[in-house]
């Protein structure tokens, strides 16, 4: 199953939707997609996590790596709608304070 479901753009943001599970096995592919996206656009990145069931430290690490690059150009990454297991990891690692996290409505 593809983990990166969709990439789209609107006026000021690039949107990317991650689904399923991210671990050390598929993290390199997702890192590649994110880096390509960062090269293509100067916009802020919105990552939709509504359908992401599982993420590990490798997955969080690649998000942090992307944030590092986005910050170099004073941009931001918004993590949208993390579900309970992903939200818990963001909380315990303190990454909820580093990224902009948008809750489910």
């Amino acid at each position: 199953m593809k983990t990166v479901k969709e990439i789209s753009w609107n006026e000021d943001k690039a949107l990317i939707e991650l689904v399923g599970e991210i671990d050390i096995y598929n993290a390199p592919q997702i890192r590649k997609v994110l880096l390509e996206l960062l090269q293509k656009t100067e916009q802020d990145i919105v990552i939709n996590l509504a359908q992401l069931r599982y993420i590990d430290s490798t997955g969080l690490g690649l998000l942090v790596g992307a944030l590092k690059r986005v910050r170099e150009r004073n941009g931001k990454i918004v993590l949208q709608y993390p579900q309970a297991p992903v939200r818990k990891l963001l909380d315990i690692t303190g990454l909820d304070q580093v990224f902009v996290v948008e809750e489910d409505k």
């Binding site: 050390i24 096995y25 690490g61 942090v64 590092k68 990454l95």
Partner: protein, 156 residues
């Protein structure tokens, strides 16, 4: 008939001597195999859905660390052992590799304000499990032993 049913039931919840050993090649594709196997073990012990999720993540982090640091390991790969202590209502899982090992005191907390990408695994394991012991020395491989207590709701 009743006696048989009772003894069958008793046998079913007597997990004291139920040890599970899993040996996997040090390859990324096997992390999910271990994750799902240990989730099934935790489920059998009676942990809640949230506790099973914690155990799954902690074990996967330890196996991921072993694979990352064990790329030139001996063919024995990574060994995962679980043991449920029914008296103490506690599940112990150990993850061992024959990798290069390291100085346990050199483990630092990651600093995300500076957007560091690594060093998260052990921190996550310690946050999710009740007890974590790291046994390692340079040249002697690494063993992570983690314990999770069963809450009041489990093992009915």
């Amino acid at each position: 008939m009743t006696l048989l049913a009772n003894s069958a039931l008793k046998d079913d919840i007597n997990l004291e001597n139920e040890k599970v050993t899993l040996v996997v090649p040090p390859l990324p594709a096997y992390v999910s195999v271990v994750r799902l196997s240990m989730a099934a073990v935790a489920n059998r012990c009676g942990f809640t859905v949230e506790e099973i999720e914690d155990i799954k993540i902690a074990v996967a982090e330890a196996v991921t660390n072993a694979i990352v640091h064990c790329c030139e390991c001996t063919p024995e790969g990574v060994t995962i052992q679980s043991n449920f202590n029914a008296e103490q209502n506690e599940l112990t899982i150990s993850i061992s590799d024959q990798g290069p090992g390291f100085e346990a005191t050199s483990v630092k907390l990651p600093d995300f304000e500076f957007a560091e990408e690594g060093g998260l695994g052990l921190f996550i394991i310690r946050s999710l499990m009740d007890e974590v012991e790291l046994r390692t020395k340079p040249g002697q491989g690494t063993q992570v032993v983690m314990k999770k207590k069963l809450g009041d709701k489990g093992c009915q």
